[in-house]
Amino acid sequence: MAVRTVLELPDPTLKRQSQTVGRVDDSARAVADDLLDTMRATVACVGLAAPQIGVGIRAFVVDVTGHRKASSCHGELVLFDPEVVAASGPVVAREGCLSVPHLTGDVARASSLVVRGLTLDGTDRVVEVDAFEARAVLHEIDHLDGLLFLDRVSSPEALFRRKVYR
């Protein structure tokens, strides 16, 4: 268990496709623990994906507890091999990323999702998320496919310098 360094652009790890976990073993759980530790230790961090700490496996953590834009909230949500089963209601909002520290962008993402994945104890879990939690989950799943919000920004006018350093 450790707080890890969050990789930043242009680290090539961020652009790689992550590998399926298949079975949640101790090494996969150790990665999730590090993701949780790093998320908890980082101010205003609501989610982190394994590639951001340099591990190419399909795992992410999200926690939108207390966020003003959150509606659904599952506390600390840890999923391996996540899969979007259903998605609807695209909404545009401005987001940034710890791995892209100097920019933000307006990105359209589904506001209602059904996501399926494996939990820390290896069982299959299906969760319904919406609003800000849905945005966070989709942002993290994108990391597992080597996609950053920069790949989803709708136009040059939708990219901004990050003005507020939290």
Partner: protein, 187 residues
């Protein structure tokens, strides 16, 4: 390395970006910030380039004369002022951790004075405009003016009070105005 500001404007056509940036590549310049768009059929480029030792604004201007003539562009080049004590960095390249990003939307029947009317009270409150775009839309007989500006509010500024102030100004101008927060969520 020194920063040089370049602006180029001309009737829009394919090849302007390629023609102008070829000069930067040939001169060993690195393109830093840029904004380019079409305004009423005119392609407008604004760029800040990092010029290597020995390449100054005059040299760059001379090198741009070729594509400027070929593409019928009006080109202006000048050294970028460095931020200093007399010239504090108000632009968004500085890490302004004391500011919050807000968006001001203004729209209504088109008439002269809308931009100035809204910009003036912002200036009086020392609120910096970071981005601004305007469009004239709708039926030419009854044109509608739409403006969206990104502003950074200094610490201590009260967005509610600003919204009231802008509402008063907008009423006088006969337009609608809204103010909304556009700070990003860091995921």
């Amino acid at each position: 390395m020194s920063h040089v500001v370049v602006t180029a404007v001309g009737t829009d056509r394919p090849g302007i970006v390629a023609g102008v940036t070829r000069v930067f590549v040939d001169m060993g310049c690195n393109l830093e910030d840029s904004s380019m768009t079409i305004l009423g059929g005119q392609f407008a480029m604004m760029l800040v380039v990092d010029a290597p030792e020995g390449v100054d604004a005059a040299a760059l201007e001379a090198a741009l004369a070729g594509p400027a003539a070929d593409l019928d562009l009006l080109v202006a080049v000048r050294p970028a002022e460095a931020a200093g004590a007399d010239n504090p960095p108000l632009d968004d390249t500085a890490p302004l951790d004391d500011t919050a990003s807000w968006t001001v939307s203004v729209y209504g029947a088109d008439h002269p004075g809308i931009v100035h009317g809204i910009a003036e009270p912002l200036s009086a409150e020392r609120i910096n405009i970071c981005d601004l775009g305007t469009r004239v839309i709708g039926d030419p007989a009854r044109p509608v003016y739409a403006m969206v500006m990104g502003v950074s509010l200094p610490r201590g500024a009260d967005p509610d009070a600003l919204a009231v102030r802008l509402g008063e100004v907008a009423a006088r101008l006969g337009v609608d105005v809204s103010l909304h927060n556009s700070d990003a969520d860091i995921l």
